[in-house]
Symmetry: C2
């Protein structure tokens, strides 16, 4: 699909000890994360301090401003650059980490990842959540509207809504169970208290680079070039609050108490070897409207999973329980490029660092459903856990871990970074 | 209601020429606006450069950092301060502008407002729009759900949803008509093109000061102290896009192409003389749940209005046509404090500069309906304009101007600043 360069060469090796063969961060990945000391790049078990590396000569000739990378996040850099710049920076980093003559200059810029306090690679002002998995939309719709699961607009328009920027948190941040209004079935009067139906949502988050002004669209042919990369996204949801509040304007307090993203941002460039065509739509489905027709449209060959570990399981040293695993590429009705171009089709300004969640990624099989609402079918089919308990929804002490791996195409597999949260009592 | 101080004294006069008797900005108002050169305060027809005034001695003893006010907006200042600080700063400004011995030091800090390029007083990261006018909710509900206009949750929970931060613009910014998908009644297939049902929405916008951390609530008794002030807000809406896209997750592209706020931010302190009790609810309505019970709950005695001037009317020098006028205090089912405390009731972090729209402010009478959707009853009752045309929805060249005045209680009336936008072809 996309043009590959030497940074994608499966034979490329790094002089950084432990990088070759690393499950997540071989030299073919090179994801970014934020930290109070500046932006870092993962190589194996190490974090490269990018500003220091530029000061040491990395990227000479690219006109890079090292100071931008002393910011805790990539936002300022992404505001003023575009896809060609990002590709050139990646290549410079890859070349330097592949060529042992750079070791004397760059080894002092490496820290063990474990010794670095990471934060998300970007600060998000505007967070949009889509609803792009048709299996998720059909499952949820059939619970709430049994005779009308998929609404008439679904196959025409990528459904989305705005989430909250202020409550986006990084990997490992504890999640406090929210309180709110619920109205139990059959009751006349709502009650207030901690949510009893706390859920996770397995999503992929698209991170925007560059900026279009208000009133400017992003044509379908240019949409992929506005995607700087992706993160894992857990859009925690309180289903009981959601059911009571969401009519007629959509989810609000049921969703905006916390959304966890992985700190590591895997670039679109790193994902190029894993680009695959969007699955063909059934011939009975409508053809996308012209503005949503993306030339050679692609998605990513990504395996995503959710693991759950209760406090008791962690105490006993049990392995986490795999709640679900799903394939991104075949779960989505709308492609990444379609989400971007649709979002800007009314002239909405997309800004550097914006987060576009795909919505819950659910495949057709029960074990491929990306949230407990679907996985336990609204609590009616509880999951039996290794510690002898079962789960309809999340309980205090539960740790939810999202993970993702890109594989296939003869390329070296790469991993998305961890995206974890432990539920605390509300 | 609230404690008044000498800054509210109706007898207070200013040494600034033209301030006394100014319709909007007498010394009893003192609203803030942003500018590239720093934050300014309105006094009559003049803008006081606040940082320069502090350098000249204003507020000595308050520990003010003049540098914060050289920022183009108030965000940094509002992040680290609270209600007591805001009151003290207002009093210092009022005292200095009332006492002619300050004239030699402060006159050099004054510019004509007309010579200053203003911008909104704060940058908003998270914009939430509520639905707090029961007349608006009932009118809109009866168009879309004739047998079920007001949903069962309305009188229990303040309904709200998230809007978009990146497309908030200041007074006078041209508004480009958005394009998007619509599905005309009876058609099977949607079409794409410029909206044919572009509308305004007359709203009041609450601006948040201070910050609560994720997981912290804002108790009802403290909610008013998180309100730094208010702006006028026009939440432009494309009704045809909205009707097709909004199920099941709420409005998205129909709303996020532009939202206009007044550049002048009128403080909660300036509105204290205009505080009035929230209207009593009908005895048949539910009593607010405990977390929504605000001690001595108040709203503001504000008259709001919408004026419309077509391009032809402006060319001919016609006065704008008053489309609607409404009273804020008696139009709202939920109070400002209730909106704030509800928003944070799940631990959602409210940050300095956040914008909480009230939703369209509609009173019970037809001429008090705050958007064209209601005013023309979905286009079925067009408005006849002085230039001989009529309006179902907005046409290119139309200028919409929102205005607001606080009156009553023996106080000097004050005005909210202008909030205008001209529709451009899409």
């Amino acid at each position: 699909m996309s043009k590959l360069d030497r940074s994608h060469d499966p034979a490329r090796r790094s002089w950084v000890a432990g990088a070759d063969g690393h499950a997540d961060f071989p030299i073919q990945n090179l994801p970014f994360a934020g930290s109070s000391g500046g932006v870092v790049v993962a190589i194996g078990n190490h974090a490269l301090r990018l500003a220091d590396a530029i000061d040491a000569g990395l990227g000479t000739g690219l006109g890079l401003d090292a100071g931008l990378f002393r910011d805790p996040t990539l936002n300022r850099y992404l505001r003023g650059t575009s896809a060609g710049d990002w590709t050139a920076l990646r290549l410079a980093i890859s070349d330097a980490l592949a060529d042992a003559t750079w070791q004397p200059r760059l080894a002092p810029c490496l820290d063990p990842i474990d010794a670095t306090v990471l934060q998300p690679a970007v600060t998000t002002r505007d967070y949009t959540d889509f609803y792009a998995s048709i299996h998720h939309a059909t499952n949820v719709g059939s619970m709430f509207r049994p005779d009308n699961p998929l609404l008439p607009n679904y196959k025409w328009i990528p459904i989305g809504y705005h989430g909250r920027g202020s409550t986006i948190v990084g990997d490992g941040t504890p999640i406090r169970r929210p309180a709110g209004q619920t109205r139990p079935a059959g009751d006349e009067t709502p009650t207030v208290g901690p949510s009893r139906s706390l859920d996770y949502e397995l999503e992929l988050g698209i991170i925007i680079g560059g900026e279009n002004a208000i009133g400017e669209v992003v044509p379908a042919s240019q949409a992929m070039d506005r995607i700087f990369g992706v993160v894992l996204l857990n859009d925690w949801s309180a289903r009981d609050l959601q059911a009571w509040e969401y009519q007629p304007l959509g989810p609000f307090l049921a969703k905006n108490f916390a959304s966890t993203v992985s700190n590591w941002l895997v670039t679109r460039d790193a994902l190029r070897p894993f680009e695959v065509p969007m699955p063909a739509r059934p011939t009975s489905d409508p053809h996308p409207l012209p503005y949503l027709q993306v030339p050679e449209d692609v998605t990513w060959s990504l395996d995503l999973a959710v693991d759950l570990a209760t406090a008791a399981m962690r105490d006993r040293g049990d392995a986490p329980f795999r709640v679900s695993s799903t394939r991104f590429a075949t779960s989505m009705y709308w492609s990444p490029a379609q989400l971007v171009t649709h979002h800007a089709s009314n002239g909405c300004a997309l800004l550097a660092g914006d987060l576009l969640g795909t919505g819950t990624v659910s495949g057709p099989a029960p074990e491929a459903r990306g949230c407990l609402l679907e996985r336990t079918w609204r609590g009616s089919e509880p999951l039996a856990l290794p510690d002898g308990t079962d789960r309809r929804f999340l309980e205090d002490g539960d740790e939810v871990s999202l993970s993702g791996r890109a594989m296939g195409g003869g390329a070296i597999p790469i991993g998305l970074g961890p995206c974890r949260g432990i539920v605390q009592s509300g």
